[in-house]
């Protein structure tokens, strides 16, 4: 009798949705996985059994990427030293000081009104650098550049100099963030003055990271599929993920070769970045990245940045950039006006 019921159920199910057999894998998985009532699931798990990273996270901290000179070899500070270190960094980062002369003041135009207050605090573990490997907390020595890359760097430096002097020739003199092409949405994610929020979404087979600045979504498949073909490059690269225990490991390749796309001007052909996301507790996630590029650094290096869950009352909002990018026109018309007056510096 029982068997008959099951059979009847099967026939009914099949006949009601005739093509269900071809339903996408993710849907099937989601439908078939149920949590057995007797077994208590481990903490921070999605209903389909993966570590749960969902939420809005903020990565702001004043702890510098590289350990500053003068602090010695200490990687972690005691309470008293930490307070002093934090005060010094906050003073260096603040934009409301008026002790640098008019030119410096102009560069501090984005004043403390814009500053994410979390950006003025060091990491809770009192580290002196975000870099944890090499142990000196510094980016490893650079490898000598090829003549072509040397030339490209010099050209970029000249464009930056024109821009900083208020005399950009063309919109291409401006950096990719100023042009609203990529901002803090390209890995690795590093803290900045504002908009340090990242919302993580998860769905069966995918982790999706939406950085607030600029409104892009990094959709990371976890099904072991190959990377995009080598002739299909993207501004944010191409990411593939997998779970290593409770840690999400993401490898990203296929970055575009445009100037300024890869981290710190590394070589797009040989640059490799691996990120590791680990849920620590209800309000903390550990973000670790390792970058390697034998054509840029003498060895790979690794940094760890704590991500803190934001107050649920706080929200992710749209960061539109290009849509009202008045700055580009202001910079360029300002430069033309200055040229007319014969100003060259």
């Amino acid at each position: 009798m029982n068997r008959l019921c099951i059979l009847a159920g099967l026939i009914a199910a099949v006949s009601m949705s005739p093509i269900a057999g071809q339903a996408p894998k993710s849907a099937q998985k989601a439908a078939s996985k149920g949590t057995p009532a007797a077994k208590k699931p481990p903490a921070f798990r999605t209903p389909w059994g993966e570590p749960d990273l969902q939420g809005v996270w903020n990565d702001a901290t004043s702890t510098p990427l590289q350990r500053p000179g003068g602090i010695g070899t200490k990687d972690v500070l005691g309470d008293e030293e930490a307070a002093e270190f934090q005060a010094q960094l906050a003073n260096d980062l603040t934009r409301d000081r008026r002790d640098g002369g008019p030119e410096v003041d102009v560069n501090r135009a984005y004043n403390d009104h814009w500053m994410d207050a979390r950006r003025l605090k060091i990491t809770a573990d009192h580290r002196t650098s975000l870099i944890v490997d090499p142990p000196d907390g510094r980016i490893p020595p650079a490898v000598p550049l090829s003549p072509e890359r040397q030339k490209a760097r010099a050209e970029r430096a000249a464009a930056n100099a024109r821009f900083n002097a208020g005399l950009p020739d063309h919109y291409t003199d401006m950096s990719l963030p100023v042009r609203c092409i990529i901002r803090t949405d390209s890995p690795p994610y590093l803290p900045t003055i504002y908009n340090n929020d990242f919302q993580i979404f998860q769905s069966p087979g995918y982790v999706t990271i939406a950085p607030e600045m600029i409104h892009s979504a990094r959709i990371i498949p976890l099904d072991g599929r190959p990377h995009l073909g080598k002739n299909l490059r993207q501004w944010l690269g191409d990411s593939r993920g997998h779970w290593d225990g409770d840690t999400l490991v993401v490898e990203t390749t296929n970055f575009r070769t445009d100037d300024g796309v890869t981290f710190q001007g590394s070589n797009p052909e040989t640059f490799k970045i691996t990120e590791r996301f680990t849920r620590v507790d209800a309000t903390t996630l550990n973000y670790e990245f390792t970058v390697e590029d034998p054509k840029t650094w003498t060895k790979p290096w690794t940094a760890i940045i704590p991500w803190n869950k934001i107050d649920p009352a706080e929200q992710m909002y749209e960061y539109a950039c290009h849509e009202d990018n008045y700055d580009i026109v202001h910079f360029l018309t300002g430069a033309r006006a200055r040229e007319k007056r014969g100003e060259t510096k």
């Binding site: 996408p24 389909w48 020739d169 959709i219 026109v329 040229e339």
Partner: protein
């Protein structure tokens, strides 16, 4: 006997009978569920209608610069996706739409104040707003998990919007992709969209709205491969009554298909900013 099966069948029948829209065209369908019991809408979806050129009936048309672009710039013919065929504009607004269309492929950013005055925002690579994002000729992904948020990620200019489920708070300020609040009505995801910037257009034909735009979208799974999409569009500043569009969304099924980048800012910089460069005009 067989009670469990009978109960299940009754529940199924009840669900199917309240499921809206689909009825006319599609056989009854019960979509796969997420753990919370709601339909699983995850996937890459794309519209095949040509409404991005014109929501209403339109003939095949040349692009704005046929002398340069030839057939590359031309648009396909298409049937109206508007219920009743025509958008119920107030009389004055038709003239504004005509002007929009005439200047659709122009841009002038020399003044902050007049920055958005002419040209289709799509032409300038601005985020398209809702519902236009849904019927642009680009795919989008629905990301649905177990949080109170659903993400819609669009390929066009990497625009995204967060759907806040059962959310009370109003839009804090207008934005390009608007303020989206979602809820489930049976198997239909209903999204209420307000707080949209007045500058977005609805298509290349110059169809437009004001900041009072209120869109209610309905996404109903009707097969493993199709969502029926319906949107009610209301704006007392421009239209005489609310009106409705509907069309199917198709699941993208290619092996290893993924959302790619269409970061179009670099395609518009010469148009927008080239004339302010050093050599410009010489």
């Amino acid at each position: 006997m067989c009670r469990r099966f009978r109960t299940a069948l009754l529940v199924l029948a009840a669900i199917v009978s309240v499921s809206p829209a689909a009825g006319q065209q599609f056989p009854q369908y019960r979509p796969p569920r997420m753990a919370d019991g709601h339909p699983d809408l995850n996937g890459i979806w794309q519209a095949l209608v040509t409404a991005n050129w014109d929501l209403q009936d339109h003939e095949a048309q040349s692009g704005p610069h046929p002398e340069v672009m030839g057939a590359y710039g031309a648009g396909p013919a298409g049937q109206s996706i508007v219920e009743g065929g025509e958008i119920p504009y107030q009389a004055w607004a038709l003239e504004k739409k005509r002007q929009n269309f005439e200047k659709r492929a122009t841009a002038d950013v020399s003044s902050d104040k007049k920055w958005h005055e002419i040209g289709d925002p799509e032409f300038k690579c601005y985020m398209p707003g809702v519902p236009r994002a849904t019927y642009m000729p680009f795919p989008f992904r629905i990301v649905q998990g177990s949080s109170p948020y659903i993400l819609m990620a669009y390929e066009f200019t990497s625009a995204t919007r967060i759907i806040r489920m059962n959310w009370k708070g109003e839009a804090p300020t207008p934005s390009w992709m608007g303020w989206s609040r979602g809820r489930w009505e049976g198997d239909t995801l209903v999204i209420d969209v307000t707080g949209q910037r007045e500058e977005t257009w609805l298509d290349r034909a110059g169809d437009f709205h004001t900041e009072e735009l209120h869109v209610v979208e309905r996404y109903t799974p009707v097969s493993p491969y199709h969502l029926m999409y319906e949107a009610t569009i209301e704006d007392p500043g421009v239209y005489t009554r609310p009106w409705k569009i509907s069309f199917p969304l198709y699941r993208r099924l290619e092996k290893n298909v993924q959302l790619l980048e269409f970061k179009c800012v670099p395609f518009t910089e010469d148009l927008l900013f080239g004339r302010f460069g050093k050599e410009a005009g010489k």
